[in-house]
């Protein structure tokens, strides 16, 4: 995959950017962080310029430092709010499974798939610690957190199939709105919870909204191999990224997955000076567990042309508003010279088939 125009391009929308001091820039729009306009502007611009996916990270709890962005909107709500501000981009909120109800998460993601006509995804994540915010559970180790995540993802996948596509019949003669033989209980019984089903929501345009996960260790890698459509990886050089992508694909065997490499990006005419200023505010050099690219739009294009072995990249802007503006004005027009009008679902555009319903297959 040497032609960078074939690379999938995702953008992570988090606060004022992933650099903890990014809010201090004059152009950070930090005052607008909790307004709809901020998000509709930025994600809408990325959408119109042809970016493929928008990731919205989320967790529970507020950070302790006064000198970083504190406070966060709920990602599922935010993604849903962007339904009419976007027309093409995949909207992929993170929903942690540790303190939430799998039934609620599943129906919310399914509903975004309905409101966006098939552009929803779900980044599965866990939330270590912060048990005191909920008072319901004891601390869990990583293995336990991800074992629970497997159960939540299994529940969601079954709920998303619990209505067959033609379950709604509106048969006036017999007075029946649905054919109830085509609406199924899921009868999930797990170690962490049990869910009877069925979903309250009829099957959505994609059937199964896309599942994403970020690989940070063995547990997440195993989750990616078994369950994810979009696999976000982190690596500090391109060779390591390609190796990891190969390992994941090999273990996933014939299941089609898309591997996206996280790249922390700072774009500007003098990005080195911009980065130095962020580091000065933070009082420490910027360190990341993945590739960092700071430079001009032209240098980013050059970098992207050298990316291979993965299906795409996820740009994590260090300073969100400024970097998105340059991406949209100077980078995406080169990568996506003609943005096709939105047709079909996210799966359609990725060439992924709409999955056969497991309950139909089981007939």
């Amino acid at each position: 995959m040497s032609d960078s125009s074939e690379l999938l391009l995702a953008v992570e929308f988090a606060g004022t950017g992933v650099h903890p001091a990014s809010w201090r820039r004059d152009d950070s729009r930090a005052e607008e962080l909790f307004t709809p306009r901020y998000w509709a502007d930025l994600v809408g611009a990325a959408d119109r310029a042809g970016a493929d996916f928008a990731f919205f990270p989320d967790t529970f709890g507020v950070v302790s430092g006064e000198n970083t962005v504190r406070g966060r909107l709920e990602a599922i709500g935010l993604a849903a709010r962007l339904t009419t501000a976007t027309s093409r981009i995949g909207l992929i909120p993170t929903a942690t499974v540790t303190h939430t109800e799998p039934f609620h998460v599943a129906k919310a993601i399914q509903t975004i798939d309905h409101t966006t006509l098939g552009r929803a995804g779900w980044e599965v994540a866990v939330t270590p610690g912060v048990v005191e915010l909920f008072g319901r559970k004891d601390e869990q180790d990583t293995a336990s957190l991800w074992a629970e995540a497997h159960e939540a993802a299994e529940v969601a996948a079954r709920l998303w199939d619990s209505w067959e596509d033609d379950a709604e019949i509106r048969d006036v003669a017999t007075g029946r709105f649905i054919d109830r033989d085509k609406v199924h209980y899921i009868d999930f019984v797990g170690e962490y919870f049990s869910v009877k089903g069925s979903s309250i929501v009829p099957r959505s345009p994609q059937g199964q909204p896309l599942v994403a996960v970020t690989v940070t260790g063995e547990e997440t890698l195993e989750f990616a191999v078994q369950r994810a459509d979009l696999v976000r990886i982190r690596a500090t050089d391109l060779a390591a990224a390609a190796d990891l992508a190969t390992r994941i694909r090999t273990r996933a065997e014939d299941r089609r997955i898309f591997v996206l490499l996280d790249v922390d990006v700072l774009l500007g005419d003098d990005a080195a000076a911009d980065l130095a200023r962020l580091e000065q505010w933070a009082g420490e050099p910027y360190r990341s567990d993945t590739l960092v690219h700071s430079g001009t739009p032209a240098s980013l294009l050059e970098f992207l042309s050298g990316v291979s072995g993965v299906d795409g990249v996820t740009v994590r802007p260090l300073a969100l508003a400024a970097t998105v503006e340059r991406l949209v004005e100077d980078v995406l027009p080169v990568l996506r010279p003609a943005v096709a009008p939105a047709t079909g679902t996210l799966r359609d555009r990725l060439g992924l088939p709409r999955p056969v319903n497991r309950f139909v297959a089981a007939h």
């Binding site: 909790f34 909107l73 009419t84 039934f103 509903t111 649905i178 009877k196």
Partner: protein, 456 residues
């Protein structure tokens, strides 16, 4: 009535058609209950009509009848908050209200979700709080049917208090975003919470800054004495049942008289009955349409299903156009799950129905059409406008949550014909004069935590 006279203002809301037999799906005009275009249509119609808010109920388990999924009414609906968020992007002034159960959600997450909706709608969020102690629904959730029936208002009150405490925990001026000093949000501006009650044991700091309304508007339904008291103590609006003018006045006075003991005034709580309506060019045409709609709402199979709820047994062999069954009802057999049971004392109800059917020579279907009929507005636009205004001006309500019987076009005619008449007489706004739902409902802003507690 002169426009210059200050009249009591009517509040109106649009209820998205639900999953009971009020909603007529067999009509050729009926459209999808799940496509977003249906929600857009109703919300935009309501906003065009300058309604206070849009209302969406919640589903957490498909209803069952005789051990199987009930298939005679509309089945399937979207996630409540997700649709309200999507509508926030497609509307500018309309309030966005949704039912969310407190039994199967934790306060920290609920507070975050509603604060998010309030931010992303610019102050238009409302929460219809329900607390269901229902083990049937609990089968879809981590804790199952954990809540005792007697504890439902205890949990509801604690959830309201805790979520309000979380919403109040960020100072109004936070985050300060002081670039010079390098302070985004000061520790002293985010008051920690430390809650230990019968339902909750939680500590920490909340993560969403104070939202435009401070507290999203709180709606509550519940006709029992306990429910009325809860509403008077905590709610901004009560979602009540529509009845006669006299019943409305009695309910209104009873609930509003309870406000004083909580330091609240009459205007702090709005009474909004849910009402259906049928319009026609003439009174006769409206009556004829109402009859036709009742026949659609109570089809032959639905008539039998209602009867089975009371009799507690399979009556599918009976002819809906024939007489009532001679067999006795089963005592204490509940065959419908996931909705409120129609009859509290089935044996008495069965005897009463049988007597009525015998006396008036009614078939099963004719009887069910009569006994399940509810008070509604039927008439010409002028008649309906007069009646709605009468209810409001004589303190039988502060307005109505209108429930159309058709998805999604069932409100169109009302907005086109009744709303202008209400506006003409000066009882309903001709344009929005506020950007928040609290503003539309003429509710005071909630105090912040530093100013001391007040109910809302």
């Amino acid at each position: 009535m002169s426009r210059n006279t200050v009249r009591k203002q009517i509040h109106l809301a649009a209820h998205f058609p639900g999953v009971n037999n009020t909603t007529v799906w067999a009509d050729p005009e009926s459209r999808s209950q799940i496509d977003f275009s249906s929600f857009l249509h109703l919300a935009r119609t309501a906003e065009r009509g300058r309604f206070d808010f849009f209302f969406l109920a919640e589903g957490l388990r498909l209803r069952e009848h005789r051990g199987r999924i009930h298939d005679l009414d509309v089945v399937g609906r979207p996630d409540t908050l997700t649709v309200l968020e999507a509508l926030a992007g497609a509307t500018t002034h309309l309030g966005l209200a949704g039912t969310i159960n407190t039994t199967f959600n934790e306060p920290y997450e609920l507070a975050k979700q509603f604060a998010t909706l309030d931010h992303l709608s610019g102050g238009r969020a409302a929460w219809n709080l329900v607390t269901s102690p229902d083990a049937f629904t609990g089968e879809n959730f981590r804790r199952g049917g954990f809540l005792e029936y007697s504890q439902r208002y205890v949990r509801a009150a604690e959830v309201v208090d805790v979520t309000r405490q979380l919403w109040d925990s960020w100072a109004e001026h936070a985050p300060v975003i002081d670039r010079e000093a390098g302070v985004f949000a000061a520790d002293t501006d985010i008051t920690p919470f430390d809650v230990h009650t019968t339902q909750f044991d939680i500590t920490g700091r909340f993560e969403v800054p104070r939202s435009p309304q401070g507290h999203p508007v709180l709606l509550q339904a519940g006709d029992s004495d306990e429910g009325r008291e809860f509403g008077a103590a905590k709610a901004d609006a009560i979602f009540s049942r529509h009845g006669t003018l006299e019943e409305g006045r009695a309910f209104y006075t009873d609930v509003k008289n309870r406000l004083a003991k909580y330091g609240r005034s009459w205007d702090d709580l709005k009474i909004l009955p849910a009402a259906t309506f049928v319009l026609g060019d003439t009174p006769e045409e409206a009556e004829e349409r109402a009859r036709h709609i009742r026949l659609q709402q109570v089809g032959p199979q639905t008539a039998i299903a209602f009867l089975e709820q009371v009799w507690g047994k399979d009556l599918s062999a009976y002819d809906p156009d024939g007489p009532l069954p001679d067999v006795e009802p089963e005592d204490n057999v509940i065959i419908t799950r996931g909705r409120v049971r129609h009859a509290k004392d089935p044996l008495a109800v069965a005897r009463q129905w049988k007597a009525k059917a015998d006396a008036e020579n009614l078939s099963i279907r004719e009887l069910i059409i009569e006994v399940t009929a509810r008070q509604q507005f039927v008439g010409t636009p002028q008649q309906v406008a007069d009646e709605i205004d009468l209810y409001v001006q004589t303190d039988a309500s502060d307005g109505f949550i209108l429930v159309p019987h058709l998805t999604p076009g069932g409100l169109d005619e009302f907005v086109d014909t009744v709303v202008p008449l209400l506006q003409e007489r000066g009882s309903f706004r001709t344009d929005y004069d506020s950007s928040t739902l609290r503003g539309h409902l003429n509710l005071r802003d909630p105090h912040t935590v530093t100013e001391g507690a007040r109910a809302s």
